[in-house]
């Protein structure tokens, strides 16, 4: 009894649409209007910044930000030239991509064991991972720094000879701080999957590895997509550990290059805004790429009920 007659932009969405309409279809206009309104409220502050990133600082300094005029594209060209984005984007990729992939993989492993089996230590394990997430990273700064300085690694891993000043060290720290959260989230998603799914697999003699890769992971796609987006955003924007553990300006991730647009005292805020817009692009791209997976949802499996 699908009444959804709107020209749907998402074809796959059509499958899941029937809960629109029904008896109260007289108020069908309400939802889009509400959502549009919310979206605009949420977008507004951002648009404000976007507009001002196209304005000349000297103009806004004289006239204040609540004014009109002084439009220029210079902030973007200057930001691009001054912040050395090319190099720093590459650094960010070297840090973020492995960190996100490994974090998600290892978290899936933990979550799978916790959700799939009924070992006694499961809860304790989850608590161990979850509590790790509650610590303020700043508090762990000095101990981690000291350890990294003391641990020597072969030169092919780090040109500094220690974990300090190496991408590997930074990736490890990012992983350690994110695994807890991801494992917790994923285990709860996995718990929502019906256990019966595994029954036939076990009867068929499927190994744990097969159950993991062929049943659990595909079913966690929406959760994995959501986490991938969040993790990319966080690790990409992570700045604190990077500056402490890398110590060399040319190894810093791209977020730090935004600070290169600031002076010791004086900061052209419009320029920094322009730079920030450029820096935000990769995370947005990841979001758009993975968005499909939340929109489409899951059409397979899930028979609980």
């Amino acid at each position: 009894m699908s009444l959804a007659a709107d020209p749907v932009e998402e074809r796959s969405q059509a499958l899941l649409k029937p809960h629109e309409g029904g008896p109260q279809s007289g108020r069908r206009w309400l939802l889009p209007v509400m959502l549009t309104l919310i979206s605009l409220i949420w977008l507004f502050p951002l648009l404000l910044a976007l507009v001002n990133s196209f304005r000349d600082y000297a103009f806004t300094a004289k006239n204040g930000y609540v004014s009109w005029g002084g439009f220029t594209f210079d902030n973007y060209t200057n930001a691009w030239q001054q912040a050395d984005f090319g190099l720093h984007f590459a650094n960010s990729a070297i840090i973020t991509i492995p960190a996100v992939i490994l974090t998600l993989f290892l978290s899936c492993c933990v979550a799978f064991v916790v959700a799939r089996f009924s070992f006694k230590f499961n809860l304790a394990l989850l608590g161990f991972f979850l509590a790790a997430n509650l610590l303020p990273p700043q508090a762990l700064l000095i101990p981690v720094y000291r350890m990294f300085r003391a641990i020597e690694v072969p030169l092919w891993i780090s040109d500094s000879g220690t974990l300090l000043n190496s991408f590997v060290g930074l990736i490890l720290v990012n992983m350690a701080f994110q695994i807890g959260f991801c494992a917790f989230v994923l285990s709860n998603y996995m718990k929502a999957l019906p256990k019966e799914l595994y029954e036939s697999a076990v009867i068929d003699g499927a190994s744990v590895t097969r159950q993991f890769f062929q049943i659990t992971l595909p079913l966690c796609r929406p959760a994995l997509a959501a986490l991938a987006v969040l993790q990319t955003t966080w690790i990409y924007n992570e700045f604190f550990w990077a500056t402490v553990l890398l110590q060399q300006g040319d190894k810093f991730p791209v977020t730090s290059s935004l600070n290169n647009l600031r002076g010791q005292f004086f900061t052209d805020n419009n320029l920094v805004a322009a730079g920030s817009m450029i820096v935000a692009i990769p995370t947005l791209v990841i979001f758009f790429v993975l968005q499909r997976h939340f929109v489409a949802g899951l059409t397979l499996g899930a028979t609980k009920g």
Binding site: A61, K62, Q82, N259, N260
Partner: protein, 450 residues
């Protein structure tokens, strides 16, 4: 890398900075003679430099010198590059590798940076902030560089010297703190530069009548108001007390300190209201837009003003006299410069570079980036200076004693975790000075006692 740090060094830092005021004049006089002989021409000397473990090589040096720089925004970064290039050119076979880290990260990570694998030479500040690292053994002694340095005043040398009487710092530029105003505003309204606190109050009242905020004020970031405290303390109690207070040797509950806050409370109504939500740049804009009459700040204020006519309109005067027995000959002019790490990989090159940085050539290249600062070497050619720079130079020269800045003159942990919140709470509630001072004193004892 292990650090050569001993128990003795650990204890050494407990000694407050002012205890270490040994007279170094004799040392300096001896050094000057040698220095003039080498001078700027020393770089061109043709004898191949022998790079001993100590001493500045007399000839050209070779190898790579690494430099840690916090000058990360485009213009200063280019300026650093330009004088490093000039150094490399004067020393064929030498390359300078600059590790640029943004200012904020550099500062926040300095402890870890120096204990990790620091560059041979790095940017830093004079004052307690420098002495602290010297006592910790995290930076290298550059006294022999100072033997060759010419054109630096005694005050600068003193500011580069740590408790042990050795130098650890080479100044490049500095900039004064003072009361800034727009000449056009003063002219138009017929204001006169105030000489005393009474003058200031009268001027303030007149400005209010004219619809101006007399003193622009913004302390959202916490540090700008420290400058106001310093100015008033220097006028009320003088340089020696100020330095001793910063060193943790005076009680904050002393009536002298109370008088500073009382004086400040007296002129607080002249300050722009709601300062705790305002950045210094926003406060500067009110001066720029001629909505405020004066602003107590460092000369970097000029960077907010558009180059040309608007910057030329900017002028300053020294903070008015409060006590005639104290006068106005103590000012605040923070010094920026370079230090050498404790175990540089290329010590000869590092020292040679530091010596080069002390010379007018390098300093003038540095000024190109930031015309709001001045060269520390007195022999630097000032013909290219702006009016503001010329005035800054005179101002600094004529001062009898020069303080750095609260966060450079005292322990950084005391400045940032105690004084910033304390001053902010004074601004919020100027009435409870006694309670505030008691609280500061309790925390001071805990921090300085540790």
């Amino acid at each position: 890398m292990t650090r050569p740090s001993s128990e003795a060094e650990y204890l050494a830092r407990m000694v407050p900075p002012s205890v270490r005021g040994v007279d170094r004049r004799t040392l300096l006089r001896g050094a000057l003679g040698v220095g003039t002989l080498l001078g700027a021409g020393g770089l061109a000397a043709c004898s191949s430099g022998s790079t001993g473990s100590t001493g500045v090589p007399t000839g050209a040096v070779t190898g790579t010198v690494t430099v840690g720089s916090n000058q990360s925004d485009a213009v200063p970064k280019a300026a650093v590059q330009s004088y490093m290039d000039a150094f490399a050119k004067a020393n064929p076979g030498t390359t300078v590798k600059i590790n640029t880290v943004d200012h904020n990260s550099f500062q926040e990570n300095i402890n870890n940076y120096l204990q990790g694998s620091p560059d041979d030479v790095f940017t830093w500040f004079a004052g307690y902030r420098m002495q602290f690292f010297a006592e910790k053994g995290l930076v290298g002694d550059v006294s022999d560089v100072w033997k060759n340095i010419t054109g630096m005043s005694d005050a600068l040398k003193k500011a580069s010297t740590a408790a042990d009487g050795k130098q650890y710092f080479v100044p490049i530029t500095n900039y004064p703190w003072a009361v800034f105003y727009r000449k056009s505003v003063f002219q138009e309204k017929g204001y006169e530069v105030p000489k005393t606190l009474d003058d200031l109050n009268a001027l303030g009242a007149q400005m209010k009548k004219d619809g101006l905020s007399p003193i622009a004020f913004g302390d959202k970031d916490g540090w700008p108001a420290m400058g106001t405290f310093d100015q008033i303390n220097l006028r009320v109690n003088g340089y020696d007390f100020h330095v001793s207070l910063m060193a943790g040797k005076e009680a904050w509950t002393d009536p002298k300190v109370k008088k500073v806050f009382d004086t400040w409370a007296g002129i607080l109504p002249l300050h722009q209201a709601d300062s705790l939500g305002r950045t210094w740049q926003e406060a500067a804009q009110s001066l720029q837009q001629k909505k405020s009459g004066m602003y107590v700040l460092g000369s970097f204020l000029a960077q907010q003003f558009t180059k040309g006519a608007e910057q030329d309109d900017l002028d300053f005067f020294t903070f008015p006299e409060i006590d005639s027995t104290i006068g106005t000959d103590a000012i605040e002019a923070p010094i920026d410069g370079y230090m050498m790490s404790a175990k540089p990989k290329n010590e000869g090159g590092a020292k040679k570079l530091l010596q080069y940085i002390s010379q007018p050539e390098a300093q003038l290249l540095a000024l190109k980036a930031d015309p709001s600062v001045i060269a520390t070497n007195q022999t630097a050619d000032t013909s290219g200076y702006t009016a503001l720079q010329k005035k800054s130079l005179e101002y600094v020269k004529s001062a009898k004693s020069i303080a750095q800045f609260m966060d450079r003159d005292t322990r950084p942990d005391f400045a940032s975790t105690v004084m910033i919140p304390a001053i902010q709470s004074f601004i919020k509630n100027p009435k409870d000075i006694d309670g505030l001072l008691t609280s500061i004193e309790a925390q001071k004892k805990s921090i300085f006692g540790s």
